[in-house]
Symmetry: C2
Subunit: 300 residues, 2 copies
């Protein structure tokens, strides 16, 4: 077990470093005009986060025998969208947060207008990467990937989840409503990451793709449940963002609706569901299984 | 001349109505959850503007014998991006404008967070349309269109021009700097509109495509010069937005740098350049010529 664990850590470190290097290369250089905007885009994206979405892209890509250079572009596109969403979420008119990944948030480090534009331009750049480089054998599959991705980002995906989240502040909402919100807000992009990895390869059957989508759905939800647990238990130092923020802000969370023990139980069930969805691969989806475990058992 | 004029007016009205109907159909319905977000997206996009960019898509598409149903999707994508850029530009941290197209701006009618998310989701929806529907004979050309479009929106296109614009407030900048800013801020999307129309068809030669790109560059710049002239001369009632705003805000404009007469002269020269770029089509680019004329001689 210890060997498996260290092997996973090494794999994870490798993907994280590869993603970081690719992002640094694909983002406009900081000295290129408009320099302040490009600096803000880099500030918001580089040296940050666990790169969970890129890890999912690569892990799913492995199952589909996808060429790593394709996965790299797909992983960067997903991470650019994630970075843009954090920049916009942190703005004063949204969550009004000043700390992110242990650093001042983008609008604090730069200014609100620059942060707004940096987020906008990060979204555009994500779509540019998906269209500029070859990501799939068949260009029609690549168009399908962009379509899927745009939906995951849009009003019935991430941005929609964000809108429901805002609307829920200070209100009492039901567990199914909370689940629906998170399936859109964080789940959509996580599911898209898994399917991206799969589509960069070829030869997966429809039932296999559907299983991966189910895996992505469970993992996406588990990710959020664990986020709420960590927010309840953790300190700002460990998390690198303001702890207890959601609770203070009157936002409904899994821990507020289910209690801490209930939320932990739910996370375990989602992990079991995610693993069950991988059964179709008969043990060939090791990285995805390890990642699900990592997402549920992480401490930050 | 009068017959030509009324024929152009009828054509323009037809495209505007067609674009409006297509946008109303392609935007998520207002009652669909998250309803407030969808209402804001529709509010920001429908019943507004001259639809200059869709007109350019259709006019260029005519030259390339492109199927109108493809042009419709391309026109809507461009208009969604334009609408998103206006919503974000009007936000308090940007231009802080309260009036747009004769109505309260999106964040005044809804709220800042909703306006931010509506802009974000409009950008995603634009890319979704470009990937979901068939826009070109060859899917590889369609990917190229999305790449081109993403660049026109991004940090070295529209968002970048916006950043330079913000940075220029209260500063004295040179005419070449002002031109560079506008080529990015409004020019990039206008050029992309023209090339979109062309790529929806087929059979144009490289020199013809290059001529269209040149036409788009001149028309885009002329559009901005005339905007500055109207802002100097017009009233808020005619313009449907706050007149004299740029001047008051200490923003450099063509009229502040060249004087009113100088700016008018420059607009005429750009119109001549745009027409010269169409010479390669030997009279088959009537709508594009009429549109350039319309853009330069409009009174709002």
């Amino acid at each position: 077990m210890k060997i498996v664990e260290s092997d996973f850590q090494a794999w994870m470190g490798g993907i994280q470093a590869r993603t970081e290097a690719a992002l640094a290369r694909l983002l406009p250089p900081p000295h290129m005009a408009p320099a302040r905007l490009h600096e803000a885009m880099r500030y918001a994206t580089l040296e940050g986060g666990k790169r969970v979405r890129p890890l999912l892209v690569f892990a799913a890509g492995e199952v589909a025998a996808a060429p790593p250079e394709r996965l790299e572009f797909a992983a960067c596109a997903v991470e650019l969208i994630h970075a843009y969403s954090l920049v916009h979420d942190d703005l004063p008119c949204m969550d009004d947060d000043v700390l992110r990944r242990g650093k001042p948030t983008c609008h604090v480090e730069f200014d609100e207008a620059t942060a707004l534009l940096a987020g906008d331009a990060l979204q555009s750049l994500a779509f540019q990467l998906l269209a500029e480089y070859r990501l799939a054998e068949d260009p029609r599959i690549q168009l399908k990937m962009i379509d899927l991705f745009a939906r995951a980002c849009g009003s019935r995906g991430m941005a929609g989840g964000q809108a429901i989240d805002l609307d829920a502040v200070g209100k009492s909402i039901s567990l199914p409503e909370l689940e629906h919100m998170h399936i859109l807000k964080t789940g959509a992009l996580i599911r898209a990451s898994v399917l991206f990895g799969a589509h960069c390869g070829s030869g997966l059957t429809e039932p296999q793709l559907e299983s991966l989508d189910r895996y992505g759905k469970y993992v996406g939800l588990a990710f959020q449940v664990v986020d709420d647990i960590l927010d309840e238990e953790g300190s700002s130092v460990t998390l690198g963002k303001t702890a207890g923020k959601d609770k203070q802000g009157g936002k409904p969370t899994y821990t507020s609706l289910m209690g801490l023990a209930g939320a932990k139980q739910f996370a375990s069930e989602l992990l079991a569901d995610a693993n069950a969805a991988l059964a179709i691969f008969e043990g060939r989806a090791t990285r995805l299984a390890q990642l699900a475990d990592f997402i549920v058992h992480r401490d930050r």
